[in-house]
Amino acid sequence: MTRMFLRRAVLAVLLMLAATALTFALVTAAPGNVAALIAERAAGAGADGAMIKRISHELGLDDPLPVRYFHWLGKTASGDFGTSLRTGKLMTAEFAERIPVTATLLTGGGALAFFMSLGLGLWGAVSNGGIVDRILHGVALVGASTPNFFVAAMLVIIFAVGLRWVPSFGVSGPASWVLPWLTIALFPASVLSRVIRVNLQDAMSRPFATTGFAKGLSRRDVLLREALPNIAIPFITTFGAQFTLMIIGAIVVERVFGLNGIGAFFIEAIRFRDFVGMQAVLTLFVIFFVSVNLLVDLIAMLADPRLRRLRRA
């Protein structure tokens, strides 16, 4: 188990290195003259060739790319993400300010998606082909197809503009998180409820379910006691995938609701050609994606002994 997990961890680190090297090569090589950009921001139109050259040398921009990557890697590993070209603040300070917002969004949305999908999937399975099952299927299809910015807009129109229950913009108390959480949770909840429903259906046709019925258990008991534990693995892996996808939801939701999170910063960085900010956020994203996947692997291994066996390739 430990060896198996260590192997996955090593692979994850390799993936992180490869992905950051790729983003570094793209983001730092592509923009043209970053030094000119910085000089222009610092001195306005008065930036001359000597100043650009000095900045370029100071930042090590005249070194070959691999040298610059390892230099950057060393700095990043020691927690130095550079200074944002747009806000002029240290990226670590930006992160300290913004990560809590995005983290609250993702945790709340993730928890909501978890319980919503479990509830709806089970409800559908209990109904099994009945009217509730079919309605839930339709709801899941629409939920997985509606763009999250439209979901956000509709929620604002109904609950903030129409009923005036919650504020439509910014953060002011816990109530202002309700709409963002709902928005971000709808898509993963829709997809997950289908995954649960389909896998439950599959599990119910397995011999162990028949054995359950033979022992005299009711359909509900077989569903909850025999079938449900057996769908844990597909549920966990899909949940992990959907949880990483929620970053996209967070980007959109932060813009719609005016939340100052990482996603909003990323979009601003792209618009204002803040390449340092972009690189820092992308690194953060890569770390997030890879570690969530690793965590999912670990949980799956803990849950299912079959996955712990070391397969020799």
Binding site: V156, I270, R273
Partner: protein
Amino acid sequence: MQIGKLPWAILAPAIIFVLIGVFAPLLMTHDTAHQDYGALLQGPSLSHWLGTDYLGRDMWSRIIGGARTSLVAMVFVLAAALFMGVVIGSLAGYIGGATELVLISAIDIMLALPSLIIALALIGVFSGENFAWISDYWKMILALTVAWWANYARMSRAVVVSELQQPYIEAARVMGASHLWIFTRHILPHVLGLVVVYASADAGALVLAIATLSFLGLGVAPPTPEWGQMLVDGMSYIEEYPSLVIIPGFALTLVVVSFNLMGEAFALQKVPRAVRGNFLRKRKAERAGEEIARASVEAHP
């Protein structure tokens, strides 16, 4: 392929969207960019079927124009991503060895990150002055293509590898067929059969991605009508004129639902290559039969 036996009910909504996009100029009643300051934010009327927006532009014409914009962008991206994916995936599968390892690693890195994040990162990269000569529209197309090919490449490779193990390939080789002949005559049809169907079902996700990028202000720029961008424009008027948000959002949702419906139908087939109605109907009947049998067993354990 028998035309009469296609699952029309499932294909119809997506086909209607394509037709609206193709015949958009005939359906539009006004110029999409024409601003009429005498008719700002009007409700539906005989001359403006869905009313006007905050610049007095006709909503109906803009919705139709938006369908065309989405369709054209989607077709560009899908075609380019398919081509790229099939070429890279087939090369990886056919050549094997070190080439395969390198290409697969590239595919895996791409697949480790969500496509839209890759697209956003690339649009960021393209915002540099080295790329100033490309318009925003083509930057979006390019970014989405690069973000989208990896999945098709993975599928193409899998098909190539499994086909290469078939005895008929060996037979062709023994008969002296060249690599190019074997690939184009025997393997490519299998690859395209699977990947094209998958891509058509994937179109919904792509329409969504285009709209999301435009919504974030990083895709289709005004005055070209685009649903995501219309929606974000309407957000400022959400309190008094929610229809400016609801109409484009509804259009977008309808299109994505149509494509996802198609995708779900294909997924249910398990044999994505056969869109042939006969086969499809038979499979469905079989499945329904199994379903009923199981339900009756479950009802009386």
